[in-house]
Amino acid sequence: MRLRLFVIVLLAIVLALPAYIPWLKTPILLALSNGLAVLGVIALLRAGQVSFGNAMFVCLAGYTVAFTARAAQVDALVLILLGTVAATLAGALIGLFMVRYRGIFFGMLNLAFSMVLFSVLGKFGAVTGGTDGLRFDRPTLGFVQMQRDGFETTLLIIAVFVALVAGILVQRYFRSARGQQLAAIKTNETRLEYLGISAKRVFWGGYVLAAALCGLGGSFFALTQGLVTPEMGYWVRSGEIVFIAILGGSGHAIGAFIGAFVFEFVKLYVAAWLTGAWQLVLGAILLVMVFAAPTGIFGLLERLLRPAPALSEKRA
């Protein structure tokens, strides 16, 4: 119950803040798109697997959006859909190969695939704009041509809504039989197989979900910036996504968004104060998290949000 209240308060803050401080719109939009991608990675973390290549789906969706927007007059909502579908299809295909691997091999094979995409985008400059990336004009949103400000506000409201729905759905998935099976890959895959359940098929589902969410995030990211670059798919970006997941806490879908907001604002402020050293600060924060709070910020908040069940049972 308290969790629901917490989410409502958070949503209110996210929607109200930009009304008073307009320049916050872009960082909040970026944080939301990051959060969606992180949500996908959290699904993989459930299975005990860490991918150092999921930014490839973010990047793929971004380029799908950019290519389509440059080729034809397509509405932003359709672009988001197209980007997500492209990432989902790619995830379904690459996933067939990936589900055979666990642990470091899984993480680094994802990294290899993302580096292939990254290099191809950088090399074939004639089509992809090379390392400078692709710029595209602001499309219509909901079939209305808007100014930058109106576009961002509307996109923000849509992004908040999408994030909320995605968070609720992912949380339901975690609680479902399939989600429990996914978590069993982490605890004991062999036992899962002995129950007659194909661990590969379960993991494939998780992988496709992760790709789809990364694609969704990538589409919003591209629309916010109006620019896509190969950098979106670099392996260090994938590492950042995993970092945000650990920072926010992978125990609950909301951890993804808490982490994404903290990350975005730390980056924003540190970059302003200590130019060129934001990675250093983030690295130090990550180290502290690994040692002091491995369950992330949500893990710390959880105790405040959920009344201890043993205590309430006693009272009842």
Partner: protein
């Protein structure tokens, strides 16, 4: 493609493979002993390159013989390995040994982020290189193909010495046998009286020095710029994964495959050059999911 171009690609490939092998050797050694993939290994390569290049520039400025640069590169790499390796082991790896594998990976990723920024703060973003030693050693002509002695003789011989030396150390010395024992099973080795934490420290220093040596030897022929660490991290992992984690001899063969594959691609299909290492790795892992030379592990239920 004519014969001399073929020979040129072969020489390029061997020199590149030797560098790749040195870095991969360090990575696989650290993985063997700690069972942690050190994502900061690429940074050790970059730091080795920067420290060695700084040494080289100091020697050149002091007016000393450029011949001194060669030992200076090695000394720079070893120093980097000792300092950074000890800091990494004592400050991080030792403390995350029993943690969840995801947290272990992220711990080393944090070290990578910190090292990358520190390196940028210290050396800035302009490229560093020390080419004096290459021109001093001159060139060599093999069947009409002229190639630098440094790349054709110095780098591959360092790699061969590293491979043979490490094999001798691991198989023939008491300390090396202890390292092998810890690699096989840490707990049992400890029960047998091996000081596992001392062995780990030593191995990580050696591994870090090998990574740094790769960077130091690259400094005379390639310019050291920000970002090479991140790139080398991925490439050296591709070598290690293709060979199978912890396989030293296998890493040499995998490095040759990837090095030659890449240099032939440079001449034949320049567009896909950067993709070749990953394509080789994916092709190998499709057929053998644990790498070429890995042994079958028993399942623990």
């Amino acid at each position: 493609m004519n014969a001399s171009l073929l020979l040129l690609a072969l020489m390029d490939g061997i020199s590149y493979a030797a560098l790749l092998f040195l870095v991969a050797l360090g990575l696989t050694l650290i993985f063997g002993v700690m069972n942690i993939l050190n994502l900061a290994h690429g940074s050790l390569y970059a730091w080795g390159g920067y420290v060695a290049a700084t040494f080289g520039i100091v020697i050149a400025k002091a007016g000393l013989s450029p011949l001194l640069i060669l030992p200076a590169l090695v000394i720079g790499a070893v120093l980097t390995g000792i300092v950074l390796g000890s800091i990494l082991e004592i400050g991080l790896l030792r403390r995350i040994l029993t943690k969840d594998p995801i947290l272990q990976l992220l711990g080393t990723f944090a070290a990578f982020m910190i090292l990358e920024d520190l390196q940028r703060l210290i050396w800035g973003s302009q490229p560093y290189f020390v080419s004096d030693v290459v021109s001093l050693l001159g060139t060599l002509t093999v069947a009409d193909v002229t190639y630098t002695r440094y790349q054709l003789l110095v780098i591959p011989s360092v790699a061969v010495v590293a491979l043979l030396g490490l094999r001798w150390f691991l198989n023939r010395t008491a300390l090396g046998r202890q390292v092998t024992a810890v690699t096989h099973h840490r707990e049992i080795a400890t029960a047998m009286g091996v000081n596992a934490s001392r062995v780990s420290l030593l191995t990580i220093v050696i591994g870090a020095a090998l990574g740094a040596l790769g960077g130091a030897l690259a400094a005379p022929t390639t310019s050291i710029t920000p970002g090479i660490g991140a790139e080398m991290m991925v490439l050296s992992f591709a070598v290690v994964a293709t060979a199978g984690l912890g396989q030293i001899g296998g890493a040499a063969i995998a490095a040759l495959m990837i090095g030659l594959g890449r240099s032939f691609a440079v001449y034949l299909f320049p567009e896909v050059e950067v993709l070749v290492p990953y394509l080789i790795m994916v092709a190998v892992l499709l057929i053998r999911p644990q790498g070429m030379f890995s042994r079958v592990a028993t399942r623990r239920i």
